[in-house]
């Protein structure tokens, strides 16, 4: 089910024949030797350098998280009327990054896009790490993270329950469900691969660890049958979930009455933005992985090109959303909403607005050219632009709307502090540290899934006459 056999060329018109997903001769055995060998090898010097760099970022972040916990939220720049500053900006940003992974692993699976198989594992891992980064921010923003369990409805001695009409409570459920489901999805996918690693490693310690992690997987046909079914069901469930999670995140904004937040376009607009930012991050990381781990034959330029096409499509959707925001402001005849939109293009924070528009709408248009879609320089340029642009989009949405709303006497500019910047840096450090560790200890490509779509991987039964 999961793994459609490579389409036979046979009598199909030339234009409909899919080009191969691998370069050169790749067999099941060579795939294992190429991908599963990494954890058994000593990583190169560059890996240690990169890890030192990212863990330094992480340590800086940890220091500022300590400052926040010790002195309180007063150390952040949030103040009336901008009570939602970096904390929420970073939360939305990181949850969005995570969405690309679920899109690749679940939605593209449902659509039977076979190019997803080589990149799904990495994208799923990035989902999990991104959601971990995202979770940090609400946790710190509650001020007393050791009491964060108060967010969940549990019987307590204060006889209090949470307010189920609050989108913030929806968020708690959505993000924690998203994390659990992504972890489950990722782990299930890893089991057969870890079983392969268990059976090829020579180290005793690794053997024990892999044996436990692979839960005694032995590849029985009766197990595969249930496994494939579970994977299909999980993909279907995760598809609905991924669309719901960023919709719920957008409800935090859309259900309030703050000008330019109270709009019905917010849920689809947020989901599109999430996929947009996530794909940019995946492209950026995959280029590095592809080069540094010599996986060019498995993660081909075709994979990157298809992902760049998705980025281009999402960029156009974002452009439509921005125009729609302006239209809503104009059509509402509400001077406050119009004022907020004008602030986006000509206010104090107009630089953030124009950075958003140029990075998210203008720069990705380069990807209309095939040359840019297949060139490292241009695709990395676009990906970095999109990452910056999407961060500043959340900055614009939150800060521009809040700093000047209905009550002019309460207007005030927002100034993030050193602690804000430090924690943002730390979240990037956490993300890339986890990515590096993952690349070191677990298979970065879902070998089992790729094996299943190699040429001749599936039997030529069912009286398939096209297959010679």
């Amino acid at each position: 089910m999961r793994s459609d056999a490579a389409l036979p060329a046979g009598d199909l018109p030339a234009g409909l024949v899919e080009p191969g997903l691998t370069v050169g001769k790749v067999t099941a055995g060579s795939l294992d030797d190429q991908v599963l060998a990494f954890p058994d090898q000593r990583p190169p010097k560059q890996w240690y350098l990169a890890l030192a760099f990212t863990s330094t970022m992480l340590l800086i972040g940890l220091f500022f998280m300590g400052v926040t916990v010790y002195t309180g939220i007063g150390s952040w720049g949030n103040n009336s009327p901008v009570f939602w500053g970096f904390g929420i900006i970073n939360f939305v940003f990181w949850v969005g990054i995570g969405h690309a992974g679920t899109l690749i692993s679940a939605i593209l699976f449902i659509f039977r896009k076979r190019w997803r198989n080589a990149i799904a594992r990495f994208a799923e891992a990035m989902t999990i790490f991104a959601v971990m980064c995202a979770g940090l921010f609400p946790l710190l923003h509650v001020g007393r993270p050791w009491l964060a369990y108060w967010l969940f409805p549990y019987p307590n001695q204060r006889a209090l329950w949470v307010n189920f009409r609050s989108p913030l409570v929806w968020d708690v459920f959505a993000v924690s469900t998203y994390f659990s489901v992504s972890l489950m999805f990722w782990f299930l996918g890893l089991i057969p691969d870890i079983a392969s690693m268990r059976d090829r490693t020579t180290s005793k310690l690794r053997k024990v660890i892999y044996t436990v992690l692979s839960v005694g997987w032995r590849g029985a046909a009766s197990h595969w049958q249930h496994y494939e079914k579970a994977y299909l069901l999980l993909a279907g469930l995760a598809t609905g979930l991924v669309l719901s999670v960023h919709s719920v995140v957008s409800f935090d904004f859309a259900t309030s009455v703050v000008p330019a937040w109270h709009m019905t376009i917010f849920p689809p607009y947020f989901v599109a933005g999430a996929i947009f930012a996530g794909f940019a991050m995946v492209v950026m990381v995959l280029v590095v992985v592809r080069e540094s781990m010599q996986l060019k034959n498995l993660i081909t330029m075709r994979h990157l090109e298809v992902m760049n096409k998705v980025i281009l499509g999402m960029s156009c959707l974002m452009g439509y959303s921005y125009m729609m925001e302006g239209f809503t402001g104009w059509y509402s005849m509400n001077p406050t909403i119009q004022h907020t939109f004008l602030n986006f293009v000509s206010g104090t924070y107009a630089w953030a607005g124009w950075l958003t528009i140029s990075c998210n709408i203008v720069v990705p248009q380069l990807l209309w050219f095939r040359k840019c879609r297949t060139s490292y320089f241009w695709m990395i340029l676009v990906s970095i632009a999109v990452t910056i642009g999407m961060w500043f989009e959340r900055f614009s949405i939150i800060v521009i709307s809040l700093h000047q709303d209905y009550l002019p006497s309460a207007w005030r500019l927002y100034r993030p502090t050193m602690v804000d910047y430090g924690i943002l840096l730390g979240s990037f450090g956490l993300f890339f540290t986890l990515v590096l560790l993952f690349a070191r200890v677990l298979p970065v490509i879902a070998t089992t899934e790729v094996k299943a779509i190699l040429p001749d991987a599936q039997p030529s039964h069912h009286g398939d006459e096209r297959h010679v």
Binding site: M1, A5, A28, G29, D32, V69, Y70, R144, P153, W161, V162, N163, F164, R165, P167, W170, F173, A174, T177, S180, M184, F185, L188, P192, A195, S196, D199, R200, V215, G216, W217, R218, G219, A220, A221, S222, H223, W224, Q225, H226, Y227, E228, K229, A230, L233, L234, L237, A238, L241, S244, V248, T448, K451, A452, D456, A457, Q458, P459, S460, H461
Partner: protein, 380 residues
């Protein structure tokens, strides 16, 4: 031939050969036929005659259960146990419960799909299966395909099975010994496990007891009442003058306490009493008069009060003609600014109370100098 082998594995190097061998192995009817493959092979479940996976139904049931659980929980909390109205919504506004209902549905369904597949259907984790310790397993999880004829009972004939597999095209065969079936949960093992858990609980409990006893509150984990704050009577480094309590900003006025009327008493004569003559106003005036004025001016406002002798001053006899002719404004001025030995009463009388006392003094004056027509007002 009766023996204790568990199964015979036949190894193939491509899926086509495996698929062709399956019907032959099944036709030999020597035992259960099972395949071990590095990835899922299409159509193998039909070839092996496996039943359809029941996982879809399980997930559906648990998903529906998740939806009902979440909705029931939210409804019970919001509408029955803790009906607090927020945002002007009715306690049973079910529309708002849908997002969480959806998430919990997905959560239940996902965990049923994942854990149901692993734990219930595939009976994993299980580390004791003979295939795992076979020589062929390194190939099975790599690029080889194994077809197994597994023993159903004691009468399993491994030689015949091996022959059948070789005839079906297997490149090589491996006979797997029966698994070690020594009981896992011996009473000794259970006792040791329980003992270990008990010891761990004791250690953890004692540790928690002493930690909370010695370090009840560590640095950031303080109670909310322990945060830095200004105490009125304590020094504070927060303000430049080092006082916790600060004087009001120059010109600040407390609510209801307007500053004393400026100007002379003659200028105040034109002020008009803004209060109506109602029983409530007289009640306020009487209360203020008895607490503030009576000690000196006397209960009848005739200047004979209980403090007069001790005080040594001569309070005004408000019943005198001079004061009965005063306009309201002049009495008000005297209350606010004080006169002769009488201090200003402005600091503790609100605007309403000041004017209410004026009314009350007027009433006392009229009561002490009542005319015949006043009686008609009282007696209808």
């Amino acid at each position: 031939m009766s023996e204790t082998s568990y199964a015979v594995l036949g190894i193939f190097d491509n899926p086509d050969a495996l698929m062709k061998a399956i019907p032959k192995a099944r036709a030999a009817k020597l035992g259960t036929v099972e395949a071990y493959t590095p990835y899922a092979i299409h159509g193998i479940e039909e070839a092996l005659g496996l039943r359809r996976s029941p996982l879809g139904g399980m997930v559906l049931v648990m998903g529906v259960l998740g939806a009902i659980t979440a909705f029931g929980f939210e409804y019970w909390i919001s509408a029955i146990d803790y009906p607090i109205i927020t945002g002007g919504k009715a306690p049973n506004s079910w529309e708002a419960f849908i997002p969480i209902m959806f998430e919990v549905t997905v959560l239940f369904a996902t965990f049923t799909a994942g854990l149901g597949m692993l734990l219930l259907l595939n009976k994993l984790p299980f580390f004791g299966h003979p295939v795992l310790s076979s020589k062929s397993i390194t190939g099975i999880t790599r690029d080889r395909f194994a077809l197994a004829i597994e023993a159903e009972d004691e009468s399993f004939d491994s030689t015949a099975a091996a022959r059948a597999l070789l005839e079906a095209g297997a490149l090589e065969v491996e006979v797997l010994p029966a698994p070690d079936r020594s009981p896992f949960l011996t009473s000794d093992y259970i006792l040791r496990t329980l003992g270990g858990i008990f010891a761990a609980c004791v250690v953890a409990g004692l540790a928690m007891f002493f930690i909370t006893k010695w370090f009840p509150l560590l640095a950031p984990m303080k109670h909310m009442q322990d945060q830095p704050r200004l105490d009125a009577q304590r020094p504070s480094a927060f303000f430049k003058d080092g006082h916790g309590m600060q004087l009001p900003v120059a010109g600040a006025v407390a609510r209801g306490y307007l500053p004393a009327a400026t100007g002379t008493q003659e200028q105040a004569a034109s002020l008009v009493n803004p209060l109506p003559r109602t029983p409530e106003v007289f009640a306020i005036g009487r209360k203020v008069f008895t607490t503030r004025c009576q000690v000196c001016h006397g209960a009848l406002a005739n200047g004979v009060g209980s403090l007069t002798a001790a005080y040594g001053a001569k309070p005004a006899n408000l019943q005198a003609q001079q004061f009965r002719d005063y306009p309201d404004g002049k009495i008000y001025w005297a209350i606010v600014n004080g006169k002769n030995a009488m201090p200003s009463h402005a600091p503790y009388l609100s605007e309403t109370e000041r004017w209410a006392v004026v009314h009350y003094v007027r009433a006392l004056q009229r009561a002490q100098n009542a005319k015949d027509e006043d009686l008609k007002v009282v007696a209808p």
